[in-house]
């Protein structure tokens, strides 16, 4: 997801019609571009990952034109063939294998375009580009360099140039170590013994992808012709992103010129076609749409239609399946116009047996006046074991915790209940609390090598809390369930010696004062825990 900012007046200008702000916000949302915030003329929009073509105001305006009925139908972007050639040397194969390029002629650079250009680059880098690893974009002033261009890999000291935002020449190693962008993105090139570079006929540097462009080709107000390079690890992604980017300039009136890149001629703005059976709209959406209406709806979404063939615009990278087109038909029809249908789909409802058991137990415990608590399952070894004088046991361990608080999943409910007592010292006693909750136990027999178990844990905290009172409750529970209870003495590290016992799948006893001290609990606590029966 990415948030973009567009200007209300700019978008109206691009649509070619003044649309009331309120209506615009509503239409954007109903098209699938939900508006997060409106601040004066600034509109902030959440762009979902399936629509990278909406990462610019031009792209949004393009779709709105159709959606609002201003200019429905397919936009067939034209290209002209040029003479620019980009040679790709084999040396880049191991570092950053792919490059795609295009040239743009006759651009009018103004504030709106500069802003939009910077925004789409940044957002494409973040989302599609996986932080520039999969894709990095360079936009250059074409007049400052001489084709043909060469994409190759060089040693770090082989080339030095003035990178964007600097005033002196630096070699590649220096850029990676000192330039702010170098520091930010050096990780992508980590371990490489040669670095990708794009140079012109005279050896002048256009770009050191995916890090930084040269100062030489910086786009300025007087720039009229652009050269675009995109490098990365996936050719498909690059070509898709290139199409999205060039269309944006064409929307502002510029001409797209094709570039020869190692055999290919790019960008390839040809129209894809897919067959759509309008009967399938009813099967998926539940409304019947005939060919005439289907055509109208598709044109509203920027498609062209010729019989059963749907012509997909070159900037739509998200269309994989007939269903994707049918979804657009539903959006064009308007989710607000789809009448919810009350169909029974007759089936019988039921609770999961585990939840039935858990509920029965909760009811029983509430009958004893115990208060339910709910606790988190993620914890750490310190809180789960050490504070209870226990050694680390077998447990699910997290490989990549973001904080030290979440390194494992609990295997017992007792530590969290003691934490609850610790956090409620200012509240009235007695504090007799329980949880019926999940823990996860390592189990090699399971497909995922672990299983979820439901445990019951009770703590009694009060000035006169004691073993006998707790055992009365335990016995009552077992009586309630018609189960036999046999408690045998069993000392545990966190219990008072001689005041603890075990029974089938459970234990009971008085918490050791040293443990209470660690939790800063100031009253005696008796506890019991067992697997849910």
């Amino acid at each position: 997801m990415a948030m973009i900012e567009i200007d209300y007046n700019d978008v109206c200008k691009l649509i070619g019609k003044k649309i009331e702000k309120e209506k615009l916000v509503d239409r954007l949302a109903m098209m699938g571009a939900g508006v997060e915030e409106v601040d004066g003329d600034k509109i902030f929009i959440e762009i979902l990952p399936n629509r990278p073509d909406w990462l610019s105001v031009e792209g949004l305006a393009r779709s709105l034109k159709g959606f609002l009925g201003v200019e429905p139908g397919l936009l067939d972007y034209k290209t002209v063939d040029g003479k620019i050639e980009v040679r790709v040397e084999k040396s880049v194969e191991k570092i950053r294998p792919y490059i795609v390029c295009a040239a743009i002629r006759g651009v009018k650079i103004d504030d709106a375009l500069i802003k939009s250009m910077m925004q789409i680059q940044e957002k494409l880098h973040e989302t599609f580009g996986r932080k520039r690893k999969k894709l990095a974009i360079g936009i250059h002033d074409l007049s400052k360099v001489v084709p043909p261009f060469t994409y190759k890999a060089v040693k770090s000291n082989e080339i030095s140039f003035v990178p964007l935002g600097m005033s002196k020449k630096m070699d590649l190693r220096e850029i990676l170590e000192q330039h702010p962008k170098g520091i930010d993105y050096a990780w992508i090139l980590e371990g490489a013994d040669a670095y990708p570079i794009i140079v012109d006929k005279n050896g002048d540097v256009l770009s050191f992808p995916p890090i930084i462009n040269g100062e030489l080709t910086k786009v300025r107000e007087e720039t009229t012709d652009l050269f675009i390079d995109m490098t990365g690890s996936s050719e498909k992604t690059l070509e898709e992103a290139l199409n999205i980017l060039v269309c944006m300039f064409a929307d502002r009136g510029a001409k797209i010129e094709r570039v020869k890149v190692s055999g290919k001629v790019l960008p390839d703005l040809s129209i894809r076609e897919k067959e759509v059976d309008f009967e399938n709209v009813e099967k998926l959406v539940g409304i019947s749409v005939d060919a005439t209406e289907g055509k109208k709806l598709l044109e509203k979404m920027g498609y062209g239609v010729a019989g059963k063939k749907v012509r997909i615009p070159c900037y739509r990278t998200d269309i994989l399946h007939e269903d994707d087109i049918i979804e657009d038909i539903a959006i064009a029809y308007g989710y607000e116009n789809l009448k919810p249908k009350k169909t029974m789909f007759p089936t019988i409802g039921s609770k999961h047996p585990e939840e039935v058991k858990a509920d029965k137990m909760r009811d029983a415990l509430i009958g004893f006046g115990l208060q339910e608590t709910m606790n988190l399952m993620l914890t750490n070894e310190e809180r789960h074991y050490a504070k209870l004088s226990l050694k680390d046991g077998r447990r699910v361990q997290i490989a990549n915790p973001k904080t030290k608080e979440t390194t494992m999943l609990r295997t017992s409910l007792l530590p969290s209940l003691l934490e609850v007592l610790s956090g409620n010292k200012h509240e009235k006693y007695p504090q007799n609390l329980f949880e019926v909750g999940d823990v996860v136990i390592i189990d090699e027999k399971e497909e995922t090598k672990a299983r979820t178990a439901k445990l019951v844990c009770i703590v009694f905290a009060d000035a006169d809390s004691n073993y006998t009172a707790a055992k009365s409750v335990l016995e009552a529970i077992f009586r309630e369930y018609n189960r036999k209870l046999e408690v045998k003495p069993k000392d545990q590290a966190f219990m008072i010696k001689g005041r603890a016992g075990e029974f089938s799948h459970g234990y009971i006893g008085e918490i050791n004062p040293s443990v209470l001290a660690r939790f800063e609990i100031e009253v005696p606590v008796t506890c019991l825990e067992f697997e849910l029966i």
């Binding site: 919810p340 009350k342 409802g349 979820t452």
Partner: protein
Amino acid sequence: MSLTEHEKTILLALEKRPKQSTRELIDSTNLPEASINRASTWLLSKGLVDIKETVKEKTGLDFEGKDYLANGLPERRVLELLKTEKKSISELADGLGHETVKIAVVWLKKLNAILISEGKLELTKVGRDYLKRRMPQETVLELVSHGKIIPKELEGEMERLKKRGHVLEFKEKTDREIELTIRGKEIIKKGITTEKEVSQLTPEMLATGKWKDIKLREYDVEALSPVVYPGKRHPFRKMIDEMREVFIEMGFREIKGPIVESSFWNFDALFVPQDHPGREMQDTFYTKEPKEAAKPDAKYLENVKKVHEESWKYKWDQKKALELLLRTHTTAATCRELTKVKELPVKVFSIDKVFRNEVLDYKHLPEFYQVEGIVVDKQATLVDLFGILKEFYSRLGFEKIRFQPSFFPYTEPSVEVQVYFEKKKKWMELGGAGIFRKEVVRPLGVDANVLAWGLGGERPLMVIDDLEDIRIIYKNDLGWIRHGND
């Protein structure tokens, strides 16, 4: 005038020293504080004593304050991270969370402890200096936590700390002083006989008939009694129960799946490409023990591999699919269920814990409940889904509901569900829905439409109870869970 035993005891104590505080009366009468308060209030109403109350403010730490004391002020945490190198806000937020970093930056700027250049934060000389000594607010925090008096020169800092939300807490403390009135003195002069009154009738008195000879003390039937609390379900449990009830009323069967799940069922089976950002380490908890799942049925492995490679044009890696993680959604359990579909229609639901690798703050929990409903039928369509959603949400109390186009990797069409919240007079996002892609259901052997919707389980509670901080749900503050929340 009739006086109770306690009232008499207090009067007699006051006879010796006519002006005493509650504290002193506890010592001189041996009565508990509650009895003294009650009896002296009655004596006041009878005009026998005067009570002077002085209210004092007592400052303590609120929950943020306690957190700051234990883990350091946000600005201290950021300061420590900047000790060795410059960092950007987003780098800092990776470990600390955006909220914490935001707060820290504001205060560090006020202290002139940081500079921001080229999007990076760096320590100034003042900042470095603070690495070695306490910041003024830290001193104040420390003093307050020990109940110490704040010196004059730190009063300004104290005021600033007060303005930070939930750091300090102010409690009122009342001191009472009880003084004998002239009428009180007269009554004592007339003589007070402390005839022994009995307060509790005992079985023994009943058995022996002794009850006839004794005087049973009259009660103050209006007095407040000691507080007792019933045992109850947790407020959030009630919400979960309610949602479960709604599903069952609507004919849905509850399902469950493993918490430690394989990437295969959590992502691959849901058509999430293996390089999708959502799968990356920063969003998902992967496990280091246990490490790798056993292979699921070869048929599903093969089908899923094929659909990924054909659609996304990359080499699908089985090893990556067998990586274990904490499920990021219950939809993993849904996928497993889809392989068991025999007779249509099928309607199932789940309400269970899911996990996201996020730093705990007022908006995010690293684990939360996901509520999910599924309908499988050949005739099920988007308008049926809308109908089911309308019914489901209205049963939860949200009468007005609307749908907007959205996106999820495994549904097509995808829908965002918004409900109108009367109390706030605004629309709020409360869930996502859609129809599973054919790329998801076909490889699992289902030849029907699968309608699905889900929402965060904690969200309705937060919206309905107007909770601003999601952490309160799992804090188990007895003040919150014991009191009326029906």
